[in-house]
Symmetry: C2
Subunit: 372 residues, 2 copies
DNA sequence: AGTCGCTTCGTGTACGTACACGAAAAAGGT
DNA sequence: ACCTTTTTCGTGTACGTACACGAAGCGACT
């Protein structure tokens, strides 16, 4: 059971040449049924696994994986966190003749996205790592791609596609967890909870709010709270957010806590501090984006839920590598754990330099990242 | 700036043979100062990086790393979590001719530990991954090891050694964070907080309790609470723990929350539920070991702090690989993030099967884990 | 000049796989 | 019987690196 299983050894046992063994291993023609059977038996018996080092060297091929995701600066910089993980994996895999080309698209510009997808259908490279936002455009495009090209989803999945693996968050559980955090933070305070939905169409956000609601439904009568869901497209820029929040607090009932079900909690946090409403109003949001980290340090945000975007990007690329280069079997989907952050466990080094780099880099989309 | 920089190319440019270039690259003798200089210049100019695939193939060497850690079943199974990460990395690296030999020792038996260390000093292999518990025995042994053998610490570090990298938790911050969680959970309740120290000599536990105390000192007068630290060696088995807790609640003042600063919180959680004291007493502990996960599901433990033992083991081995096999530069120490777990974000699959496997495996210590 | 020793360098082989080319053997046709 | 086609297989070369061996070149000494 040593690693002694080489092509040469198989050839010796089967009393043929390595060329013949090679043909059998690659399913090429030109081998009699008889010897093929004999070789197959020996291969199975020895548990032969080709030496990847030698294979890679011999093939002398450079693999190209393409990553497709929204611009790193969108969603308050959430995608930069994913991109970071992708680049880390790209660095680690560069020694094995793997190049990674990252294409960022504007998630508010379907036309440019469609154009990008067309290009990818034409030149998919050896594998794709895809953030499946905008499924309406994505799914048909995936159908047109050469079926031999594997793809992996990160940051969620969509129906109607057959990815090698999907690495994603459990948005519903995240919302449920956010409910628990909210209850802890607002314990004893009077008032309703407000769940802000900044992208009415986004599936993740919807699920988070559903989970949030479910938590309070599941609580006994003692802890049950009224939750009001509000759609607000104003949570993009400081000015519009401020106007929206002014109105919300002026007109509505007393508010004990706010859930911002995407990564723009810092806009609400900033407003709460500026308007002197922070006392008495808990704030829970998503993702360790720079703005949220800052706002949490300043005391605006109380709690952040996060789903390891770095690890998702990294793991996604590594899965592609394992499947395409190492030809290992698919290990199924991954559901990353839900992380909770308070002021006391914010990462010491939020790597602002690295994030700034990413933000800068996004200007030149479609770069090839390599190292060799 | 392509990856075209091969030995052959350098030889062509320097008008020598590849053998000569090879001698220069490996610092071997037999090259005139003149040509050496010329080749060095070209190497630097081209930014030559040897092809690891080819090197590995040619060297035809199997690397052996040794991992040294307490028995997987000790500390309520904490080490099994680390071991899991180590095995994952071992699996990923097996394709590159890396074998990992794991030695588990009894952390309550210094003699056997010393014997193991002696063996490791004699046969350190190509690198070591070490959990630096029992520094009194470890540090002198490390001093006797061939200085060419690199070692990486995980789950903490110790003074007096020079590891390639140290991957560790920030125990003090963890305790501080636990303070915040305790305050949230026990909000409004009367009573003191008790911090239980199960290993008076363990540095991590000490630091956690220090951080916990610091949190309440840092709170304003409004939230400041009395914290009583208790050493208790009874937190090992259910019976002794029960007796201890019985006494503690009978004799002491009213208790609003308990901090178990190691991974045996489940013993306390079980007792609280059985004795009907759970209402009114928050419980915070450490690590996602099977017992704690169960107890949290049952409602005994309210909150667990964790420091990614899986990732620590995995990253540790990968660092060794990078340093020894890839000859990449050291990237410095790692401080893993502090994770918080409540019932709502417990991992869906605590992999009980995998954990059981590990517990079984520890019977046969010192196995070699490989795949090829 | 011849031999020895030394420095300096080139050549050959190996690692394990992939694939092209061509040789030998078998099958088909007249 | 002979030639052609097809099947079946072996050999050779390449990938890029590591290292052993031995061939030049040079000076020094007998």
């Amino acid at each position: 059971m040593d690693q002694k299983a080489t092509v040469k050894e198989i050839a010796r046992l089967a009393e043929v040449s390595i060329g013949t063994v090679d043909r059998v291993l690659h399913g090429r023609s030109g081998v009699s049924a008889e010897t093929k059977e004999r070789i197959d038996a020996i291969v199975a018996n020895l548990g032969y696994k080709p030496n990847i080092l030698a294979r890679q060297l011999s093939l002398n091929k450079t693999y190209v994986f393409r990553a497709v995701m929204p611009r790193a600066d969108q969603d308050s910089g959430y995608w930069a966190l994913c991109l970071h993980g992708i680049r880390r994996a790209a660095r680690d895999l560069a020694s094995f003749r793997v190049k990674v080309r990252v294409d960022e698209f504007d998630r508010y510009d379907e036309d440019s996205y469609r154009a990008l997808l067309e290009d990818i259908v034409k030149e998919p490279g050896d594998g794709l790592l895809i953030a499946p936002v905008l499924p309406r455009e994505l799914v048909p495009a995936l159908g047109k791609i050469d079926t031999s090209v594997p793809y992996v989803f990160f940051d969620g999945t969509v129906e109607g596609a057959s990815p090698l693996a999907a690495i994603g968050q459990d948005a519903y559980s995240g919302g449920y967890l956010a409910g628990r955090m909210m209850l802890l933070l607002a314990n004893g305070r009077e008032g309703v909870f407000v769940a802000l939905n900044a992208h009415a169409e986004d599936r993740h956000i919807k699920l988070r709010i559903e989970g949030f609601n479910a938590f309070f439904r599941d609580q006994g009568a003692a802890a049950s709270r009224e939750v009001r869901e509000l759609s607000c497209f104003e949570l993009e820029h400081t000015e519009s957010a401020d106007a929206f929040l002014d109105g919300m607090f002026r007109e509505g009932p007393r508010i004990a806590g706010i859930l911002v079900a995407n990564s723009s909690g810092h806009l609400v946090g900033d407003w709460l501090l500026r308007s002197g409403r922070k006392e008495g109003c808990a704030l829970v949001s998503w993702d360790l984006v720079p703005g949220n980290v800052r706002s949490m340090r300043e005391g605006g945000i109380d709690c952040l839920v996060s789903q390891r975007p770095f690890e998702q990007g990294r793991e996604g690329l590594e899965r592609l590598f394992q499947a395409v280069v190492q030809e290992e079997e698919n290990e199924g989907d991954v559901r990353v754990p839900l992380d909770i952050f308070f002021r006391e466990n914010l990462p010491q080094r939020p790597a602002p330099a690295a994030l700034a780099q990413e933000r800068h880099r996004q200007a030149a989309s479609g770069r090839v990242d390599s190292r060799a």
